[in-house]
Symmetry: C2
């Protein structure tokens, strides 16, 4: 108990303790994630195949499954210093409110203007694009966290940024759009009439409000057809998980400083960028047999790729222009129910995390959104921070684990990732505050219909 007292509310590392290398968990995986396949030839894609879409240095990172540590360039380290290290917070107030003997910690990534962890990879991808002498980058954004992060990074580096924003978000989240514009990005509602794929989708589905998979197709098309541009992505890819390991490395360094070992590590899971980044260094120890941790992914019941998806090759986008990735997927045409408010709406999952889950190194659970917002509100009122709906999936699971400890009397140490803030999600909060929020779980029939359209390569 005397040690206990020395743990502050927020554990901050000093600036020179910001990681100088990313950790590549693939180096420690016996079963490596399956390679990306060319959607036409169905052959594994190598460096040259990926060059029309991605920056050279990022392709190297994408394909490298053996180098355990990769240096972070100095200019990126300097950018990290503007908003990192992020605090590791001891949730004293939440523990007290729950009356739990559990010790709860969260790594908070929302203290930057993009409001989430997405900036950790955005600056890297923008940096390598600039290094390669490119004019700019293209991307898609749904809820807008990734687009905002990328706009901040490209503004800082002085390169161009074209964002294709899912139309429904473009219309319902005008403030997100304006943040991106303030940082100098051009923002186009998707599907647009700028691209062949956009025109096709608009013709086939008049009045469609778009999807993430469709916006990806548009952004990729523009990148490959515009001189001096490449496409960048905020989740799913191996390179993104690599960059996001700054989260886990900092969290582990902060815990190590106080001799704390988490029993349970919890993260929300959409495409896997935050979860992968948070757990990687811990997973590395687990893979190497040095330590054991319970690692839990939490996904929305309305978009349950881990828990109800197939582990199969699938398209990363709706337009089927992207490579095929082997991952847990609900099918590239799956779109969560219209009542789904809280991000994490991608149909697939990081191939790295998919392989780790398949091999039994982690668990996955689902949460329904009303319960998620209840947890969010409870957390906000005692811990101060208004969480993003995405992050609140992890809060919900952490609270549940802490309440189990209350029953059993166990003093478990719980670490979860608080990926971001909910300032641009107030439409969803309003629905919750007004008692108008509903839940939806896709039926088996819906999923079967979606699985039926998985590419033939799986047969």
């Amino acid at each position: 108990m005397s040690v206990e007292k020395t743990i502050p509310y927020k554990i901050y590392l000093s600036e020179d303790e910001i990681p100088k290398q990313w950790y590549n968990v693939r180096a420690d995986m016996k079963n490596k994630p399956a390679p990306l396949l060319n959607p036409e030839t169905l052959k594994p894609m190598g460096f040259e195949d990926l060059r029309p879409v991605f920056c050279d240095e990022l392709i190297k990172q994408e394909l490298d499954d053996t180098t355990p540590y990769i240096d972070i360039p100095q200019e990126i380290q300097d950018f990290y210093k503007m908003y990192r290290p992020s605090p590791l917070v001891r949730a004293y107030c939440l523990e007290k409110a729950l009356g739990t003997p559990a010790k709860i910690y969260y790594k908070f990534e929302g203290n930057n203007t993009s409001g989430s962890h997405k900036l950790n990879s955005a600056i890297v991808q923008a940096y390598y694009a600039k290094q390669q002498g490119l004019k700019g980058v293209t991307t898609e954004t749904g809820a807008g966290q990734w687009g905002t992060a990328l706009s901040m990074a490209t503004a800082y580096l002085g390169i161009d940024c074209k964002v294709y924003m899912v139309k429904v978000s473009y219309e319902q989240k005008p403030f997100r759009r304006e943040v991106m514009r303030t940082y100098g990005a051009s923002v186009t509602p998707s599907p647009s009439m700028d691209t062949e794929i956009g025109k096709k989708i608009n013709a086939e589905h008049p009045g469609t409000t778009g999807s993430l998979g469709c916006a990806i197709s548009e952004a990729v098309e523009v990148a490959t057809k515009t001189e001096g541009y490449r496409y960048v992505l905020g989740s799913v890819l191996n390179q993104v998980l690599l960059h996001q390991t700054v989260i886990g490395l900092e969290a582990k360094a902060a815990l190590d400083k106080y001799g704390i070992t988490p029993d349970i590590i919890i993260g929300c899971a959409g495409g896997g960028s935050n979860l992968g980044g948070l757990i990687s260094p811990f997973m590395g120890e687990k893979l190497r047999g040095e330590k054991d941790y319970r690692i839990v992914a939490v996904e929305p019941a309305s978009c349950p790729s881990f828990t109800r998806g197939k582990f199969a090759y699938d398209f990363c986008d709706t337009g089927m222009v992207c490579p095929l990735a082997k991952m847990y997927t609900l099918g590239s045409n799956f779109i969560p129910s219209a009542n789904h408010a809280g991000g994490l709406r991608y149909h697939g999952m990081s191939p790295i995390l998919s392989q780790l889950y398949h091999d039994g190194y982690m668990e996955a659970i689902t949460a329904e959104q009303t319960a998620v917002f209840e947890a969010a509100q409870r957390f906000a009122r005692v811990e101060g921070i208004l969480p993003a709906p995405e992050s609140s999936h992890a809060i919900k699971a952490a609270i549940d684990e802490a309440l189990k400890c209350k029953e059993t009397g166990e003093e478990k140490t719980i670490l979860f990732g608080l990926t971001g803030t909910g300032y641009f999600d107030m439409v969803a909060y309003q629905k919750f505050n007004d008692g108008d929020m509903t839940d939806y779980i896709p039926t088996d029939a819906e999923l079967e219909e979606s699985f039926a359209r998985l590419p033939k390569v799986n047969d």
Copy 2:
């Protein structure tokens, strides 16, 4: 230059360096701020006179102009640990972008969910209300920063919170309203039909969208007529400036750690809460003749209380139910032009700051809002943080000073207060992004008309 290199991007104090006492600058003022007057008797108001409106302990702080340091209760210190110490940031990226030899530092108060420094006083006022056994507090809010902060504080302490929100903001800033509701506050558009004053104003000005002065009148009326409630205020009052000195005390401690002495200290000024909090410890040294600093208040050209107001007794509210305060004022009926987007719209100014300005201890300048948003955008793109329009007044002045240094070659050290973030001000940013923002400066005739209605006590 070797010392230079050791200054990190962000200077963080440790948790045990958070101030344990507030500094009361009045103790060092030769000319004390004038006492509040009873609007009916025109006599100075004492402890008993103020009890129907304010909490007992806060009245003591309001009236105490001799005690230099006042202890911060442990529970408030603990709450401060959830979001403090706030970072003192060296604006390396801004300096580089400007090409200035000046050294720019800013104290950033936006890293908490309320998005501003207002939380520093909100928790104190809510704490003393709870200590006194009250059920709850009432207040007004304009742009919403104060209301949000108070909602967070009352949620944490488990007491009730009734917010009267200027109707135009209630309608144009629904997300601010929802944040407050998420924290359990009731939010009523003002003027409402709940109060005598609200009814009167609605009858006299049908369709009015409200004003801060009117919302104050309503909140005070409800507090004085409801058993177990008191009124709390986010600026102007001596007690608020006292609580906000945590900003300046932390900033000074961080600077002292690195042996840095600012030449110029800049803050935006609406009612004076941030400016007073930031400058107090520095002003103390100046008042005691120990050091000299140039201290600059920046106010909107559309609401120029320091630079064009009268130093006179005036009502703090439109309904004339509040005490009279001697301050720089534009007249209690003054409402800034409808095109004014950026907060800082109160007609008066903190009596403490008014006295200090009157006695020549500080300067005041104005900025027009388009130039303020230009500075905001410039800052956001290099320093990452999207600033509140209020804070951007200080940014504008800091950039101007840094550019003067570029001309003269002087390596001045500039400290400014970055009070908050602009996430809930995207309507204004959109106007700016679209090129639709306009400026307005009140005419002399307008001000004269307003001054003509100052209370007779000044004659």
